[in-house]
Symmetry: C2
Subunit: 194 residues, 2 copies
């Protein structure tokens, strides 16, 4: 389990990075071959079903990595608001640093393939559900009831996916920073007259 062949992992790593930024259709197998240095034959040895199978592996890889990121931040900050805010700031940092924005969620793939590849859509759906479950758990720990927690988890997740999209499009971390700043104001509990 610890001595896996490396080629497969390199492929998944490279594919994850490229897909997350340019989307599924925007990345050719040739791009992955070139960037990873792994020849095409090996790709089809490890992923006999081709591009779609590799994409699903990449999605599952990203799912795990992002889950770890979320858990780390949430463990570090016990307070709900601080935890949510800290996580969005980590997203913002990816853009601010001018470096390659890696590890960003799978929104790009989900957006273009939900209607044309059911296996990919299912992989994205499962990923989204798992992330939201972590968010929901944090809301519950902060005292929300289950239904409210689920809705707020959806809200927070939509904020991150939307924020990442805006940051990419604006070529700036500013949208994510603005969102992070507003988090205390958005998620602080208070009585609402129905």
């Amino acid at each position: 389990m610890s001595k896996k062949p490396k080629a497969k992992d390199v492929l998944i790593d490279t594919a994850s990075r490229l897909f997350m930024v340019r989307g599924y259709c925007g990345v050719g197998l040739n791009d992955i071959i070139e960037e990873s240095g792994i020849p095409k034959g090996s790709l089809y040895y490890y992923f006999p079903e081709g591009k779609e199978q590799l994409a699903i592996a990449a999605i599952e890889n990203t799912k795990r990595l992002v889950m770890e990121d979320i858990q780390r931040v949430f463990t570090d900050k016990e307070n709900l608001i601080q935890a949510l805010q800290a996580y969005v700031y980590t997203l913002a940092q990816m853009f601010g640093e001018g470096e390659k924005p890696i590890g960003s969620p799978i929104g790009t793939i989900a957006g273009e393939k939900h209607s044309t590849s059911e296996p990919i859509r299912l992989a994205c759906e499962s990923t989204f559900k798992d992330w939201q479950a972590v968010y929901a758990k944090k809301f519950i720990a902060a005292g929300y009831d289950e239904q409210q927690a689920n809705s707020l988890a959806t809200v927070f997740h939509a904020l991150t996916e939307g924020g990442i999209l805006l940051a990419f499009t604006m070529k700036s971390g500013q949208p994510l920073e603005q969102i992070a700043e507003q988090i205390p104001s958005l998620f602080t509990e208070r009585p609402i007259e129905k």
Copy 2:
């Protein structure tokens, strides 16, 4: 100005609809030809620069249509919270009806082309800025100062784009409904101790 040739408009309409759902790379010119019934030669007559030019026209078309939707809802509901909530409900309705979700924002294209086509990225950026300006104006009318209004406009926009992505991926209007329900709780003003 009122008696424009129809072929061009049909092309833009068809392209808008297909691009919004399946993204830029996911839609071939052949798909647009087939669905619109306009032959390829005519497409290149109206859009000599090809697919990219057509996509930009589609983005600008969607920008205008969505802007009108927003303005209509915002004019109808003077109250900030009610206006924001009503708009998200209109987005949710597109999915709930089981019909083709048309008129949805351009997130899909923005997500995949921001890094590979600067003209398209700019068209998306301009669109996003215009929509956000309308949101910001509504926040200002409700008494927020300009900086706060801009940040909250970003927040609301991210919520809608993220919500649409989740709805597509989950094949359900539920995420958008959950977001709509939470809007009063999210955007109701209250004192926060800094």
